[in-house]
């Protein structure tokens, strides 16, 4: 087999083939190829929003499923997210110009006392990969920091992460404060972290526990769809 036979020229592919190839290139974390693919689709007159949802988010969904299923692991996901980021950098200003609909906005951070942030960073990257806007509050967040941020950012979703069994209960403190202020139902609250489980999520009054970053994305999409349906019905 010669090199020529395997060389793929993106601009020679039709739209369907190109999108398929972009799925593959995202899967393999090829940033330059993704940037090239995005540019070609723009030149062909694709709406930025369609490129985001059909090519990039579509490809990252496959990455997410394979991460969830134990086929891909953190290094591959980091590479894919990095490639996605390359494409997003081109699309972001155009999305704002064209007034594209918003997928959703999430405020995320590890809870007070918890400084372990690899899991939270993965969720941020995968959420951005799915087209969400993410406001990352970093580590060690107190109640006030979460409450101030979700209001300021007009967020749809609050994500809290904890890696320590000793810091998990703080999530309930935050949710209780939201209930007390009468704003709990304005937001979807997702929680995650190695020692958590569904039972814990229910016990503290979160909307859902997310086992990993891929599940977080799927869950966030479901809640956003529900929210849109409610708005449409109301």
């Amino acid at each position: 087999m010669s090199d020529e036979e395997d060389d793929i020229v993106l601009s020679e592919l039709n739209d369907d083939e190109l999108v398929q190839q972009m799925f593959d290139d995202l899967y393999d974390g090829l940033k330059e190829e993704i940037e090239e693919g995005v540019t070609i689709l723009l030149e062909r007159g694709w709406e930025p929003y369609d490129i985001l949802t059909k090519a990039l988010v579509g490809g990252m969904t496959i990455v997410g499923h394979d991460f969830r299923d134990g086929i891909l692991f953190v290094p591959e996901v980091l590479l894919a997210a990095n490639a996605m980021k390359g494409g997003m950098a081109i699309l972001k200003p155009l999305l704002a110009e064209t007034g594209a609909p918003r997928v959703g906005k999430m405020v995320i951070g590890t809870v007070k006392g918890d400084i372990h942030d690899i899991g939270k960073n993965l969720v941020s990257m995968m959420m951005e990969g799915a087209g969400f806007e993410v406001v990352d509050l970093g580590i060690n967040n107190a109640v006030e920091s979460y409450l101030e941020a979700i209001e300021r950012e007009d967020a749809d979703i609050l994500g809290m992460s904890a890696l320590l069994t000793t810091t998990m209960p703080y999530m309930k403190v935050v949710i209780d404060a939201m209930v007390e202020k009468g704003i709990r139902d304005n937001y979807t609250v997702l929680v995650g972290g190695a020692p958590l489980n569904e039972e814990f999520g229910r016990a503290i009054g979160a909307d859902a526990y997310c086992r990993d970053a891929a599940v977080a994305v799927e869950t966030a999409k479901q809640f956003m769809a529900r929210k849109h349906n409610q708005l449409a019905a109301g």
């Binding site: 593959d24 006392g113 400084i115 810091t167």
Partner: protein, 335 residues
Amino acid sequence: MATSLSTLLRDRDWLLADGATGTILFNMGLQSGDAPELWNETEPDKVRALYRGSVEAGSDLFLTNTFGGNAARLKLHDAGHRAGELSRMGAEIAREIADAAGRPVVVAGSMGPTGEIMAPMGPLTHEAAVEIFHQQAEGLKAGGADVLWVETISAPEELKAAGEAARLADMPWCVTMSFDTAGRTMMGTTSADLSRLVVRLPHPPLAYGANCGVGAADLIRTVMGFTGSLPVIAKGNAGIPKYHDGHIHYDGTPELMARYATLARDAGATIIGGCCGTTPEHLRAMRAALESTPRGPIPDLADVTEALGGFSSDSDGTDGRGPTRERRSRRRARE
């Protein structure tokens, strides 16, 4: 007075390690978010009580309170510059307790992960990681640790950096990874991968294995996946954390951990201990079980689930039964 782990490994066919550090310190009043390593200076009596708990329960080896005692972790508590010093203090207190035990007890200088992702995926270079680990290793050595104990590692690159630090410090070392994601580490390393990795290192560890992770059953499956002749370490969690009335407790009973200990030995482990949730009460039950139970045959996976509960995933990536994805024709690998 130093205790040699390699001598103990030669003379005994199993060794009891210790249990949890964090769980016990929190029960003594450590506040979540505070660095446990600071207690080596400010609360030495509580650290003594932690160590003594393991020794009195029968541990042949216990870990120092220095898991997060590296510059990358301590800088989050504005104590990054004190990594060597706080590690030394943790080892000094441990040496004192081990020497008072009246039997050979090994002081294992705990070295946890940096918490950062290594290059090229993340910001931490190999050289920087080696320097961080080496600094801690020298502190542990100065405090009298018998062996360095690198634990809860996810990335092979980070393991290599820690191994190089042990070589630079001229110290024997052991290493365990945390297999918490579909039977592999977060970075995708399988038990068999780790077996292949450790023997290729220029300064191989005395023993290697698994710690923390998901539950006791998963940990035994991981032990069964190791290959080769180096002694194997099993340090599993005491069950799974449950939330109850504002507090977290692990659901693994001393009886379950006793069963886990003998299964771990039957599965091929030589150094057996616990991790999160494992108290001296658990350790006593484990010691009694290891002493009173004759060795059994290598268990099969059905024995493990029957004794300890189900696995967190169908495959651990070593049996060729793991999930895969069909790929279309792919680009050639980039030059």
